[in-house]
């Protein structure tokens, strides 16, 4: 039975990846920062995975983790990642999103260089680039501390691939969403607001720039791409994206239409909520992943929006979220829509 180590298993991507690997017959070990951190997303599989508490911030703890979990594959997803954390505590961001990549790779080199490694790199490494769409050859130009730390993680991964011959890949992931997205991300804000407004629990939604465009995919598809990278003969870097961009406005229109409403009646553009500075258009060209990995996203934009709205409707109706007061609660486990999507992934 192959074994996988997933750092940050309690996040959106970690939980999808854990489900995916369990279905493939893997033994799955995952890390979380501590017991008080949010474990909602992995509650439904917690009896089938091993959880290790570690902050990943010291070489000794990383090496203990590798020695004890004995993985064949390491998926490094742990990161300070919330959209609000792009600029806060940049040293902490650098320590976890940047230096921990070096710690893991250096540990692998010493403990077992056969371990395969994939780094969750990010489209944020391209930042202010003038080149659209971006490919694996596009020059990096990160525009915030999060992107700069991810760029470091990306390059240090390539150094260990060239230098130590490690099987180390970077997956340059574009925005990937799901019903498990945290609610401070714009997609989840919208899907949740559409659900709440349709049930007359809320009246309006205030957003930043509505014409901001993103390349949005389904997180369940993206973790499958990471797995595929580690099944190849040679390690490499890949863009993981849909190749399509949509505006925040498009997302609103689709989400509200799904509940029979016109977004223009409820969505307000709030200039004060616009994030600083935003210039480049992040749109990925996933041709290499298509060609080499045979990877294509199974869930398109409209399906993704509907899946997220349906999940939010379900949780609001079932009373799992006390909407007005507990903003931090997440929906637990996989919804039916997600399960269908995951099954499509696996097939």
């Amino acid at each position: 039975m192959p074994a996988a180590l997933i750092t940050g298993i309690n996040g959106q991507d970690g939980s999808y990846l854990a489900e995916f690997l369990l279905a493939k017959g893997y033994r799955v070990v995952g890390t979380t920062p501590d017991r008080s951190s949010d474990q909602q997303l992995i509650l439904h599989i917690c009896d089938r995975i091993e959880i290790v508490e570690t902050d990943l911030l010291g070489q000794e703890s990383v090496e203990d983790l590798l020695r004890n979990s004995k993985p064949d594959e390491v998926y490094n997803l742990a990161a300070r990642a919330s959209s609000r954390d792009l600029w806060t505590q940049p040293v902490a961001t650098g320590d976890l999103n940047g230096l921990t990549v070096a710690r893991l790779l250096d540990g692998i080199r010493r403990i077992d260089p056969r371990i395969r490694f994939v780094q969750a790199s990010s489209s944020e490494v391209f930042g202010n680039t003038a080149e659209t769409p971006q490919t694996e050859a596009t020059a990096f130009q990160p525009r915030n501390p999060y992107g700069a730390a991810k760029a470091y993680g990306h390059w240090i991964t390539s150094v260990y691939r060239q230098h130590e011959g490690l099987f180390a890949c970077s997956s340059i992931l574009y925005n990937h969403e799901s019903p498990r997205r945290k609610i401070d991300y714009v997609t989840r804000k919208i899907s949740r607001a559409a659900a709440l407004i349709s049930l007359e629990e809320e009246k309006e939604l205030r957003l930043g720039r509505l014409d901001a465009r993103r390349d949005w995919g389904f997180a369940g598809d993206y973790v499958r791409a990471m797995w595929l990278m580690l099944q190849q003969a040679l390690p490499d870097d890949y863009i993981v994206a849909t190749g399509e961009t949509h505006s925040v406005r498009d997302f609103c229109a689709a989400a509200f239409a799904h509940v029979g409403l016109d977004y223009r009646d409820f969505v307000l553009e709030d200039a004060a909520d616009c994030r600083p500075p935003e210039t480049g258009l992040l749109a990925g060209n996933p041709a290499k992943a298509h060609r080499v990995l045979g990877w294509k996203p199974a869930v398109g934009f409209q399906d993704l929006v509907r899946m997220m709205v349906d999940a939010d409707l379900q949780t609001v109706r079932s009373g799992e979220i006390h909407v007005r007061h507990t903003l931090s609660k997440q929906s637990s486990g996989a919804t039916n829509q997600e399960k269908t999507a995951m099954q499509e992934n696996l097939s």
Binding site: W87, G94, G98, Q141, W155, I156
Partner: protein, 340 residues
């Protein structure tokens, strides 16, 4: 009177920069790390006597891995200009200590930028970026617009710091300049760096103290300039109206082999009789060809290097020859003992 803070003042660049700033009337503050051995050799000649009343050079204990020490220091000094030269600066060593290199070279820069943000925005900030960030790029000569492709933990860390300086400039309006310096050498270059290793080796071989010189990859090509001129470029960047990034280079590229030939020939020796190749000195990933295009620095800063390759090699051989003579004749009371 302007106040400057130099991190890495005990290093090659820091010592020349301090010597440049003092005659311009600056009050110069430097950070030094606690060390059980002397680490101020390069600035001992300009360090004031404790009793001197007019002292304008001050050293402080602080550390790039300690945010508190940086914030305290900035509060105390309130510098007009910060020259951030401190780093774990050895490329090959960075493969052995990647975490430490990342912590000091990259996170150390972020700690300093955060300290500036917390304490006082009005200071100017110079970041010592490096041609190593271009790494294995196939494009040359390299300019400010050439894409980076770092190939060592050192280069990854320097590039991370570079982008953070850009981020703080663009988002917080900090006056931050990146000087992308190509190799810059001098008699004060650390003895483990290839240029100094060669010139020191030549002096010792000629004096009969050493028989062989063990080298790594002789085909690596570098753009080698003279450090005192490069610190002048740093200072000029900081006097501009608006902050920007500049490549600082000679525009000439020469191989390590040429450096050997030139240095040995200048001493009247045939390099091939003395040089042996030792694979331990090879880097895991070799950066083949660094050649800088400093036309922007010339156009905007009016900066042009005068000391080119051959002069540089000769002045370094002369200096190491003189240093050795002084050591042998006992003129240097506290001489660096020959370690190898």
């Amino acid at each position: 009177m302007k106040r400057a803070l130099i991190t890495g003042i005990t290093g090659q660049d820091g010592s020349y920069l301090a010597e440049l700033l003092l005659p311009k009337g600056y009050e110069v503050h430097g950070i030094k790390r606690r060390s059980s051995s002397f680490n101020t050799g390069r600035i001992d000649n300009i360090l004031p006597d404790w009793h001197e009343r007019e002292a304008r050079l001050f050293l402080h204990f602080a550390d790039l891995s300690d945010s508190t020490s940086l914030i305290k220091l900035l509060c105390q000094i309130q510098p007009d200009e910060i020259y951030h030269l401190g780093a774990q600066s050895h490329v090959r060593v960075s493969y052995e200590i990647p975490e430490y290199t990342g912590d000091v070279t990259a996170l150390g820069t972020i700690r300093l930028l955060e300290a500036i943000r917390v304490v006082n925005f009005k200071t100017k900030f110079y970041q010592a970026s490096s041609s190593e960030m271009f790494g294995t790029t196939p494009e040359y000569p390299q300019s400010e617009t050439t894409p980076f492709r770092p190939s060592s933990p050192y280069a990854c860390a320097k590039l991370y710091a570079h982008w953070m300086a850009v981020n703080y400039r663009e988002s917080y309006g900090l006056f931050a300049c990146n000087g992308i310096l190509f190799n810059h050498e001098s008699p004060r270059r650390g003895e483990t760096f290839v240029s100094r290793k060669i010139t020191r080796g030549v002096a010792r071989i000629r004096a009969g103290l050493q028989e062989k010189l063990y080298m790594g990859n002789l085909d690596a090509k570098r753009d080698w300039g003279y450090t005192p001129e490069y610190v002048e470029a740093m200072w000029r960047m900081m006097q501009m109206e608006r902050p920007d990034d500049f490549v600082v280079a000679t525009g000439e590229t020469h191989s390590v082999r040429e450096f050997l030939e030139t240095a040995f020939a200048y001493a009247g020796l045939d390099w091939e009789k003395y040089v042996e190749i030792d694979s331990r000195y090879f880097r895991p990933v070799e950066v083949d060809h660094l050649e800088g295009d400093a036309s922007k620095a010339e156009r905007i800063l009016g900066w042009r290097p005068k000391v080119k390759f051959h002069d540089l090699v000769r002045l370094m051989v002369d200096s190491d020859t003189q240093l050795l003579e002084d050591q042998l004749s006992g003129q240097l009371a506290r001489c660096a003992s020959a370690r190898d």
